[in-house]
């Protein structure tokens, strides 16, 4: 086991965003965090990364994971090249991966471009590259395929798989169940801030008393 999450709760005023969230993360697995909109997926990631305070619960140590948020546009006035170098220098990334990640994320044509001028998909690829360059054993990515077209999503999925095969744990928050089913080994199913199930598709299906390997069916049954 790489780390264990225990009893994480988070409230925003009267709204309960997370309640007693607990699950385990194994080394080198691709774990999908799935759930409907508003289930608390991003909140859970932010709590795990320590960029949002949780009300209670145990979060993994800082050096265990790196979190790549969705929908941010970091350092908009700086070039992509600088952002990658800053990741290596300040965030302690692995320089030996630089060229490979640039190729995997197809960033060579935009290296000189400012991040603020990139399209949504290009920005997502820059964020993924930043995450992949870091050294923490687990990488938490919020919506890794958001803003990418089908071909890009497949290419990115292949690249992520390469990193997972090398021993990096990927914990991905994915709201598209079909994407999650295609890509992840195991799942944590979150609904209304609570974990409704954890395991492979078969284990979740068993939990839902269904005889199917269709994650969408299982998802609908459990949420």
């Amino acid at each position: 086991m790489l780390f264990e999450v225990r009893g994480i709760s988070k409230r925003f005023g009267k709204i309960t965003a997370l309640e007693g969230v607990a699950f385990q993360v194994q080394p080198a697995e691709v774990l999908g965090l799935i759930g409907p909109n508003g289930a608390g997926k991003s909140t859970l990631f932010e709590c795990l990364a320590g960029v949002l305070p949780c009300d209670s619960g145990e979060i993994p140590p800082r050096e265990t994971l790196f979190y790549v948020p969705d929908g941010i546009c970091p350092w908009p006035g700086q070039s992509v090249r600088w952002a990658l170098d800053f990741t290596l220098g300040f965030l302690g990334g692995d320089p030996s991966l630089r060229a490979e990640v640039i190729e995997q994320m197809d960033l060579a044509p935009v290296l000189s471009q400012r991040i603020g001028t990139l399209s949504k998909g290009q920005r997502k690829r820059v964020l993924l590259a930043i995450g992949l360059l870091t050294r923490q054993p687990a990488l938490l990515i919020d919506e890794p395929f958001e803003g990418l077209d089908l071909r890009q999503a497949r290419d990115i999925a292949s690249a992520l798989r390469v990193h997972a095969l090398r021993g990096r744990t990927l914990f991905l928050s994915i709201h598209q169940i079909s994407d999650a089913a295609r890509f992840c080994d195991r799942f944590v199913l979150l609904n209304h801030g609570r974990v409704r199930g954890e395991g492979t598709v078969a284990e979740l299906a068993s939990l839902a008393h269904l005889a199917t390997d269709d994650l969408e069916e299982v998802f609908l049954a459990l949420t």
Binding site: A49, P53, R62, Y67, P74, W75, G77, F90, L91
Partner: protein, 420 residues
């Protein structure tokens, strides 16, 4: 080295900031306007009287008022962008995952902002060279005090803007809050209530007077502002804890400020000793102990400000055990009547008393010597005569209105290209 990376990053963020380049471009004309105006007035007075005001008061204080203006109305926007930009863009969520604490991050931003401010001070600093070229006199200690005062003032603005940028969700809110505080301190200063407002502090430095209490208090306020920014940029810490930490820090700094307000050392670095009595008078005053001055003057009475500025501020520095009491709490307002003794200034030494209504330094000294029965020192011929200069400011308009803006504009374009 993460610290080096951080500093380079903040430097790059500053150099891609249009507001910083706008400040730099505007500093030339702002300085030019104030320098040329004060220069011409100084030259006219020099030609008319044969002797002139000190260059510090006649030229440098007004010239560097461009810095004060820029520090209040332009610098906050640059500081807010640099401190709040990371949070607004989401970069802070990435940066906070590094083991570096927010105090280092805020410290790096403050260092870079101060460096940026130093670059912005190049146009007014270049006026020294022009003045020297015209044959004007420069006295380094008083100019050092002036520059130090404006750097401290910029530090205060940066710290205030950093605190507001970390507390407010949006840049516009932070800007409004920052301007409210800075303009508010102006109002406080105008009402004569603020001994430690930035404007009052800058005014002392502009006169070549370095006060330890004001300097330490300014540094403490800078520490407070940056500390609050560091506390509120820690996104992963519960809000209640951040409120508690801010409160504790504010209390600690307030205690420090209270203690610092008792610090009396000061240094009059002006060439003409304009903040001090003559050395002979100071020696005579140091022989007098247990002097009390009771002034029957209301706070809003301009005579009270005169008395403070012309005499008491100098006296306090020469006589640390001097006691000053303002008796009149009432004003001479519409519905109030001043008492019969209103306007009297009593000088008390033991059982002897003297009364005067004059507020000039000479009259105050005369009363003190009389009540203390001390022989006034002989008048010295060694009086500061100033440095008159009747030159024409040739080339100054070209430098401030043309060359500086053009140079900054060209640098801006080159740097933007280089940073890609």
């Amino acid at each position: 080295m993460p610290l080096r990376e951080l500093l380079v990053k903040e430097l790059r963020e500053l150099t891609v900031s249009r507001s910083w380049w706008m400040l730099l471009i505007l500093m030339g004309p702002l300085t030019g306007f104030s320098f040329l105006g004060s220069f011409r007035t100084f030259a006219e007075v020099s030609a008319g009287q044969g002797e002139a005001l000190s260059p510090l008061i006649g030229v440098w204080a007004p010239t560097f008022s461009a810095c004060e203006l820029a520090a209040v109305f332009l610098l906050p926007f640059i500081a807010i962008r640099l401190v709040g930009g990371d949070r607004e863009s989401g970069a802070l969520k990435l940066e906070l995952q590094q083991s570096f604490g927010t105090p280092f991050m805020v410290g790096a931003k403050a260092v870079v902002l101060l460096a940026g401010w130093t670059v912005a001070m190049l146009p007014p600093l270049s006026a020294f060279l022009l003045w020297h070229g015209y044959g004007g006199s420069l006295y380094a200690p008083e100019l050092g005090a002036l520059i130090f005062g404006h750097i401290l003032n910029a530090g205060l603005t940066i710290a205030l803007a950093a605190a507001m940028a970390s507390l407010a969700e949006h840049h516009s809110t932070a800007a409004i809050l920052t301007l409210s505080v800075t303009v508010g301190t102006w109002v406080v200063n105008l009402l004569g209530w603020g001994r430690y407002t930035p404007a009052a502090m800058v005014a002392e430095f502009q006169h070549g007077l370095v006060l330890l209490d004001a300097s330490v208090i300014a540094l403490a306020l800078i520490f407070l502002g940056l500390g609050i920014a560091a506390i509120w940029l820690r996104l992963g810490v519960p809000q209640k804890r951040r409120v508690f930490e801010s409160f504790a820090l504010t209390l600690a700094v307030a205690a420090g400020i209270f203690a610092a307000s008792f610090l009396r050392p000061s240094w009059d670095l002006s060439e003409g000793r304009r903040n001090s009595f003559s050395e002979a008078d100071e020696r005579a005053l140091q022989q007098i102990h247990g002097l009390t001055i009771e002034a029957h003057l209301a706070p809003e009475d301009p005579r009270r400000a005169d008395l403070e500025n012309r005499a008491l501020s100098k006296l306090r520095r020469a006589m640390p055990d001097l006691r000053v009491r303002y008796i009149a709490a009432s004003s001479t307002g519409l519905f109030e009547q001043a008492s019969s003794g209103y306007g009297e200034i009593w000088y008390i030494a033991g059982w002897r008393k003297e009364m005067s209504r004059a507020t000039t330094a000479e009259a105050v000294l005369e009363s003190i010597y009389a009540v203390a029965q001390v022989q006034p020192p002989a008048e010295s011929d060694d009086v500061y005569r100033g440095h008159p200069l009747t030159a024409q400011p040739n080339g100054a308009a070209l430098l401030f209105y043309g060359l500086w803006p053009a140079a900054f504009l060209a640098c801006g374009i080159l740097v933007q290209r280089k940073l890609k």
